[in-house]
């Protein structure tokens, strides 16, 4: 029963949500809005399930020997801090919750991603090789954009930024557009298979 019912529910929801695109009527729009509302609640509950899983995993790690124990404690401290501040003092302007977000969480996240500036430079030096015609085109396109999209490109030659604009607006668009069309067709086919019950991986191992 727990295999057939979800497949039927999926089919009904899928057919209705696809059909409503073409039907302009009050009750249909209302039901459509209601289903969208359900989707948001389900999404948040799924997110909370994931968060609970992370918390239980970190609690388990505390009982392990070695440095992992201390790192798990730090992670749990971070979770507890935000929960206490958020529910205790609110999330409005001037709240300690937003203070921690602004002074610790956001700068740390930015710093982690900025590390990639160093690694991308290292990777470019080691791996960006023009070994054959295709890779030579790749390297050339990267160099043109690297120089042409910053002021130094304009100093080298006024044609550099113009060339970059053309490269971005014609050949690069052509490739990306072909990829978009391919993805669009592929996703449509997958969506139809999901609604028809031919694709059930979302149900997990018991769904097959």
């Amino acid at each position: 029963m727990l295999r057939k019912i979800p497949v039927m529910v999926c089919a009904v929801c899928g057919v209705f949500m696809a059909a409503q695109y073409f039907i302009v009527s009050g009750p249909v729009s209302q039901l459509y809005g209601t289903v969208l509302d359900w989707m948001q609640i389900i999404f948040v509950c799924a997110l909370l399930v994931g968060i609970l899983h992370v918390i239980t995993r970190q609690i388990k790690n505390i009982s392990r020997p070695g440095p992992e124990r201390w790192y798990a404690m730090i992670a749990l401290f971070g979770i507890a801090l935000m929960v206490v501040l958020g529910f205790g003092w609110g999330i409005s302007r001037g709240s300690p919750f937003l203070w921690v977000f602004d002074h610790v969480q956001a700068p740390m996240q930015t710093t982690v991603f900025s590390l990639l500036a160093f690694y991308v430079a290292s990777a470019a030096y080691r791996g960006f090789r023009a070994r054959h015609a295709e890779s030579a085109v790749l390297v050339l396109a990267a160099l043109i954009v690297l120089l042409g999209r910053v002021p130094v490109g304009e100093i080298i030659s006024p044609y550099v930024p113009q060339t970059v604009s053309w490269v971005l607006n014609v050949p690069a668009v052509a490739a990306k557009r072909a990829i978009l069309i391919g993805i669009g067709l592929g996703m449509t086919a997958t969506a139809i298979k999901v609604i028809a019950g031919m694709e059930r991986t979302y149900l997990g191992s018991g769904g097959r």
Partner: protein, 275 residues
Amino acid sequence: MKLDRRIIFMIVALAVVVPLLFPLGLPVAVTDETRAVYERLERLEQGSVVMLSFDHEASSLPEVRPLAEAILNHCFRRNIRVVGLALFAEGAAVGYDILHDLAARHDKQYGHDYAYLGYRPQYTAAILGMGESIREVFPTDYDDTPYDDIPLLREIRNYGDIGLVVSVADGSLPTYWVEYAQARYGQEIIAALTAVMVTAYAPYVDAGQISGVLGGLKGAAEYEILLGRHAAGKRGMDAQSLAHLSIAVMIVIGNVVAFGLRRKNETTEAGGHSS
């Protein structure tokens, strides 16, 4: 040629730090793409409403903050009203801060000149839901004030009352705005993107599905020039130039060295065969 990666790291760090300490004042030219976004906002009537969606994580803050500030400066200067929201959880706090900061700088009043709806998850449902009723998707604003208690929001039912949506994004969210708000409801979209996403959206601009793209710190710097301002985006352009130049030089050196080694190996092999 073997090179300790920490030397490469040092080169990149110096390329960024030195021009920040000793600015070069390189000229920044405004691209047609940025000018198109600026002119679109110029054409909006005073009093019309722009929906600014903070569709990004906190990790891209140094890029998205100048972009959002540039758009907001323009909107508030022209007395265009702004409704902010976030479709990523971390964008919620970032958007809340930026919108209030900029509104304070321009003496704008909350509830009349701007409002902040907060965060909604599951962007497909949120974007589609707002096409029917924004009030249903956001029953309250970020600070729990009921939707109908905010005068600006009382005037807004759905996309029909929104002049322009600006998605400040570091990922694929503008795609969903195009697929669900533009294709379904005909809502006009502009994307203010981190540089890494710019090439992904060029086909949408070419097809007219997105009215314009403002890209990265450079895009923000160009926009500031059009606004006659000098702020974060423009300050970083010298560092951006030198860092790009250093990486480009490293790519060229890496290729020259690899080519030389390949030639040397081929010569050695040829010599070995002939002997």
